[in-house]
Symmetry: C2
Subunit: 197 residues, 2 copies
DNA sequence: GTCTATACGAAGATAGAC
DNA sequence: GTCTATCTTCGTATAGAC
């Protein structure tokens, strides 16, 4: 099945990118990991590695974004952002601190060879930010402040994943989870006070 | 001169790692960029690429850490953290959004081949965090809270560099600079209030 | 649509001349 | 201490059989 082979390659690349990055992962490893022959790569991804990387970014963005979107219903912004960070802590810990964010890896390594991938990455990061910002806006936080807090949250989580890998400990993610919750709650509280004036 | 050649190679690797990452940078490019012959690599770095990467992490950590340490004298924590983010924004913008943090790149890519590099990276990140935390502690912020705010700041800046590269805009860094300044000022203000009770 | 085989260059690493 | 030359493995990419 074509779709099955293609999907298995994307999923293998996704996993390997998280562990070794974009340049550090070769087709040889992707082929071995997915069980799909090396030569089949260019059947599914005519433009080569950049083509595959784009689909990996989409998959990574969707996987996290869908979880966030599902969690966003019915919880307050502070709980949402804390869960966002906690989910990454869980991810990093279960992979023994040897896996990070595939999108971040591609952004940091592909700009020279395939600059167009930055747009796809920005698009997926944008969705994460929009989900957080909307959760804040629903509680009355002004949209500009909601947007910059959402950016802070996504940036802090991406950075804390790197710090956690370096330290081989989830503490950086645990710390920022608490701080982000506080910042989100303060913004909601501030919006409520302003409204009741 | 030996030290000169070695230093030039480290500086070239430093620059190339920021643009293309650790795996994406070969000795061929480092040699061409630094003007030092390829074969000389193993004279200066007997353990090879990991050896070189360790020195790159040290250089990157020192360069940023020294700037922060110099700035920390005589300014309040909010101004310090804002300057930290603004410095990175300047860096990313002057490199046309094609360069990020060398330490983050090495952490994200080297864990499989050279796991020991994570310790060096954690060490350098730790210094940045300590400078920020101490600035807060000097203003009376309890050390635990100072530490987690410092972690938030370093994580947010590292993540915002990635977001900025993806978007080809400094806005993520500008946004978190403002938010971090607010968080730092709120912590200092809170510490003052608690002390005057 | 998926495989084997292979092209060609670059990767990291080493040996030995100077 | 720095160079040239070279080894082996792996990189991306292609051609063509089935």
């Amino acid at each position: 099945m074509a779709a099955d082979s293609k999907d298995r390659m994307i999923r293998s690349a996704y996993q390997l990118f998280r562990e070794r990055g974009y340049s550090g992962t070769g087709f040889r490893e992707i082929s071995a990991h997915s069980g799909v022959a090396k030569g089949a790569v260019y059947h599914h991804f005519p433009a080569g590695k950049a083509d595959l990387a784009e689909q990996v970014i989409r998959l990574a963005g969707r996987e996290v974004g869908d979880l966030m979107a599902a969690a966003a219903d019915g919880v307050d912004p502070g709980t949402l952002v804390e869960g966002f960070a906690a989910g990454w802590a869980e991810h990093v810990r279960t992979h023994d601190f040897a896996a990070g964010c595939a999108i971040a890896a591609v952004v940091s390594e592909s700009q020279h060879d395939a600059p167009q991938l930055a747009r796809t990455a920005a698009d997926e990061f944008g969705r994460w930010r929009a989900i957080l910002a909307e959760s804040l806006a629903r509680q009355g936080v002004p949209s500009e402040h909601a947007a910059s807090l959402a950016t802070l949250a996504v940036a802090a989580v991406e950075g804390a994943v790197i710090l956690a890998r370096a330290e081989r400990a989830t503490q950086p993610l645990d710390d920022i989870a608490r701080e982000l919750r506080k910042s989100f709650e303060a913004a909601v509280h501030g919006a409520r006070s302003a409204q009741s004036k």
